[in-house]
Subunit: 262 residues, 4 copies
């Protein structure tokens, strides 16, 4: 399916402020960016670079005044994410070198503290995809998905204690549980078709059967229509914007996703 | 200045044929891509990856039939390339690690065979920018720039013997001469505003004074309006398309560059 | 000064167990490895790779039985670590791309929760080296350094609450405080001459004045003799060994550091 | 088998001279470095870095006077290199991204000019290992291997015209022939047990059947005992030393390889 996605941001900047953005989706095996627009005003010097996870990031110093950022892309993505209940657990010695980092605990995914819980969730499941599926199901039934309920990222431990969270929070707990079982898992930020309420979204991917699979405990009816913008260990790596210095006032954050072709 | 660039390609493919393209310009310190379109027909699986020089490349297998590729971008670039006659030679020990590879001889830049010629050209010039300027001037006066005069890349030795060449050929000789003096130099392929006749273009950059500077022996009146698409050691690294297997028939290659704003 | 360092490990492995080691120091700007031995028994297939932070890591699957690892190096390192009270804070827009990741919160360094404390510690200090020095001093006076007091890594929040910790813990808190001030900071694991009691050691580095400087709140008398083995965001990235599956029994961990020449 | 390899170099340096060395073998899937010594005199600041092909390189500026470099390693390597006559040609679309660069022509391997010769050599051979084997056989019978017959690297075209060459030259022609058939091929510099006369050696590897295989047209009796020190497109990338500025006088280059255990 073809989606047109957009993110429209505006900030009130009181003092010259360094920003790092992560808002340009990349073409890859799972999606193709056919059209891309990226407008930032006022006019200033912007440098784009690739971070350690392969994401395209933009650096600049916003001057005092209103800062507006508008990005839109036309993306070919799958109507149904791939599912393979038979995808097996990959033994550590067979993981590619660059996947190993997704086994480590990270800021919001304290996987070193979840081994017991993870083992209780996946009891009797076949190692691999079915374990991750069990984790996704457990999240869906145990952690209430309440969009807009948290502003700052909370960690897997906090989410588990609280019993509820935003998309990012459920992903953090899912990732922590996977990693505690030595299943590589990573955070994805991006767009999702038909997400309600519409906003930037977050989900996670797990590496089983020799590739990454999408998991999203916040959804039941939606089966595809994902557009990835950034990958990382957790929310610390995939902020759509990082701003340094005194906080800026967000005037607008408007996200749209519309289907433009089959 | 703001330029709208486009490249429109069509091929007649007789048997399923693997392609690797290098046609998506990247935002960086010198240019900002505000809008980007990349259309390939027929519909097929395309994988984009980053090569060893940081270029975005696209891989796919074109099926039998007509293959069309259309890419266009709106780019902010400088009206005048930076010039600094005082930029000094950078001693080897002060070159960044990732610049060192641009000192090595490469397929079409046999810098190991040009030391004598280079030294005669730069006699009495201050080490650094002025030496490269002398090389660019020498190329302009010595090697006739004849667009369309060669189809396949020729090497610096061949260009020097022949005394004429296309943009790519002059760049190869310029690069070979720079490297023979231990000045890092690299090939750039891209677009140039007001190029006559309009086509994809090639020029070179030399690393002096701690950064890369643009040099282009094919032009005199033009001072800016460059849009970089790919970087590499020479033409071997920056083909806008590489095609494997039996040759395909090129039906169309049309390039446009128009100014859309100041 | 020239140091001979060694680490001698033995494990009782009950079932075939994947290991990833980080025990081979690399030569760099700050140290030169003149001699290096790395012995692992029993004989098995070992693959060495470079992780995302540039560390040399070794992967293998240890069979059932005793696993012994012995590594020793002769290293030239500085007798006095560099100190520069005038090294200024580097504004975000001037940080190299590959330093930016060291601004992010990480598993054991929840820098997003330390802004208030950090600001109270560095009140009136000149931005840059002197702020990090104030943080190091504060750690030394506030957090008791008790070698052997924790087995598993604890996070900056936990260390701050507890008021004591091992070398790794003090480094975590120091890193979190630096990053909360937008000063890049990273974890280092390695050897330290005259450390008492002798063991593998951990400290941190902060990026000010355009380079990395060593800080170590656990020491007062020692001024140099550091040998770096691994770098990362925090202890999650720089475990000298990561072992997967059922826990293995550590039979021996013996570390030595002796001076062999001036 | 376990080999002790060493390279002992001495130069007479007349003016401070930048050097880049490639003399530290790395552990990998095919070899394990158990012991490593690397001594450079006089004492000076040396920086080690990893180049674009993963090689460990050392940079320094040698002062006026005698420069000595001594490096030795104990290495576990295979007594017989892997051979698989059934390893098939890997279609371009299935090559890993980081293998693609080994399809390109390079300084000393003008693969763009060898298609006709290559096709005549591999007539009727099964695509893949058997084609490379045919190329190796053809080299062995057609190009005389004359150690010491060339000082500077010569290119595949030159080697083919001349009909003889050193190890490096035969490797260049083998690589060019492979690449002209879309088989990725790379240069390796290193040590070889029982090489006569003993010196640093060069051979090539071809990527078939999903991995790299060793080929060496200079040998017939020897079946293993290879120790790799550097990888690259050709000799331009894998010089054991690169020296900049006025030529230095080589006082000594002595290489040894002895078996120390089975």
């Amino acid at each position: 399916m073809w989606l047109r996605v957009s993110c429209d941001l505006a900030f009130d900047v009181e003092t010259p402020t360094p920003f790092i953005l992560m808002l340009r989706p990349r073409s890859g095996a799972e999606q193709w960016i056919e059209r891309d627009e990226f407008k930032i005003a006022p006019n200033m010097s912007i440098i784009e670079f690739t971070d350690g996870y392969g994401n395209l990031c933009q650096r600049f110093v916003a001057p005092k005044g209103e800062l507006t950022i508008y990005t839109t892309s036309d993306v070919k993505t799958s109507e149904f994410v791939d599912v393979d209940f038979g995808a097996p657990f990959v033994e550590i010695q067979h993981l590619p070198n660059d996947v190993l980092c997704y086994l480590l605990p990270s800021r919001y995914c304290e996987s070193d503290r979840f081994n017991e819980l993870a083992n209780s969730i996946i009891a009797n499941k076949m190692p691999g995809y079915q374990q991750v599926q069990a984790i996704e199901d457990w999240l869906r039934h145990t952690i209430s998905y309440i969009p807009g309920s948290s502003v700052y990222p909370t960690s897997a431990i906090e989410v588990n204690q609280k019993g509820s969270g935003v998309c990012r929070d459920l992903a953090h707990l899912g990732i922590a549980l996977c990693r505690s079982l030595s299943i590589p898992a990573r955070m994805v930020v991006g767009y999702l078709h038909n997400l309600k309420p519409m906003d930037m979204h977050a989900w996670f991917e797990a590496y089983v059967g020799g590739r990454w699979y999408v998991f999203d405990a916040t959804q039941t009816g939606i089966k595809g229509g994902y557009v990835s913008v950034g990958y990382g260990l957790d929310a610390a790596d995939v902020a759509i914007f990082n701003q340094f210095g005194p906080a800026v006032h967000t005037l607008k954050q408007r996200v749209t996703v519309t289907q433009i072709k089959n």
